[in-house]
Symmetry: C2
Subunit: 221 residues, 2 copies
Amino acid sequence: MLQNGYKASRGNRLRYEFGRPNLMTTDSPSRRSPRDRIVDAARGLFRKHGVRGVGVDAIVDAADSNKMTLYRHFSSKDDLIVECLRRAGMEMDAYWRELEEAHPGDGLAQLRDWVRRIADHLGANDCNCELMSAAVQLTDEDHPARSVIKKFKDAQRDHVLELCRKARVANAELLCDTLLLLIEGARLHQQSSGHEGPSARFAEIADAAILSFAESSAVAE
Amino acid sequence: MLQNGYKASRGNRLRYEFGRPNLMTTDSPSRRSPRDRIVDAARGLFRKHGVRGVGVDAIVDAADSNKMTLYRHFSSKDDLIVECLRRAGMEMDAYWRELEEAHPGDGLAQLRDWVRRIADHLGANDCNCELMSAAVQLTDEDHPARSVIKKFKDAQRDHVLELCRKARVANAELLCDTLLLLIEGARLHQQSSGHEGPSARFAEIADAAILSFAESSAVAE
DNA sequence: CGCCAATGTTACCGATCTGTAACATCTCGG
DNA sequence: CCGAGATGTTACAGATCGGTAACATTGGCG
């Protein structure tokens, strides 16, 4: 346990195996960069166990890399957290574009599709609320991740509000905030009460809310 | 250390000072028991920094006690967490009785009063979502606190559902889950986006939801 | 007073955490 | 092929964590 038990003692925790990744010669011609592997592994572990519940050793282990490489790319674990949240935000931006392509100009359809996809994704074992989960656990107001989270949340609210306006519902601001509250509430309940909790009705509730706002505006047309 | 002004969260320890509390001789004739002080201090710190962000040293420091006394009353930190959550659940039960006394037999009034009080309390610096916050951070399915959380959430849902039934709204189950999602969503947003976020409209949204369900059932009477 | 239980104080253990140093190895363009 | 930079390996530093042992002190009660 002193010196040579190092490798054995490492294996008791999270470990990801891809065949023989140490042999890079003929393994995979397009193996992703260590930086990307580290970020992806960190995001997966952060989602499952929270940013405070995962250590850098587990991250580099899952990424099939090592601690030195991590600290050559990120000045600290907090820096890595910030990068993970930034990527989550960028994926969200791409997701908005995807929704726009699926329903060009149709804010109502984009909103309904959005909540439907969220409802479908609620069943996944890994909750997708990376940013909110991190916000709950990073209580320090000065933490650099807080500004990233806030910026992302503000951008999300702006975009949803724009969709609500495009949908020409009765009260766009109210529907926007209603949906945001419902979504985060569903994610939180899903994490604590599992699948059978109130989040099971999220799709029904959110869609009913959207239609309720849309119908009450139909009389004005 | 060419990062920004953010100091690593390792250095700053929480420390509470009350005059000269070490001198118990003439301090306070009815000083509460160390056990209660520890539990209260733990709950306050858990609310502010999360169960994983507070160490036992900070807890006994805030309780003006010491680690040995803590471990004479609780077998472990997890045991203390469970006790804190149990007390939160008991306070919630007392809160339901209080609402029943304020509006005897009137489920609708109890519901509206409930959401109004939650909205008022959202402004408090310490978020009151102890159980949900703990659930997010205790990702281990086998953690003893998980069963306490689940039991409490189920009881809460049963009670809210009963209130909705007593209110004789159109769809009691749907209103119940809608309110539960809105409430947790508001608490989560309040913690990440602060005051100006979507949680600012929580009272308006939740009350509108209640009235919407109540009105749609009024035609049946 | 004198006893006793509860509480406080100090010091420590082992595990784990973030982060680093020194050195070995690999990849890839010239 | 060769050399430079990126990456991997090993070992360790410093700090914090949960938890414990031994001992000192306090407060209440006969």
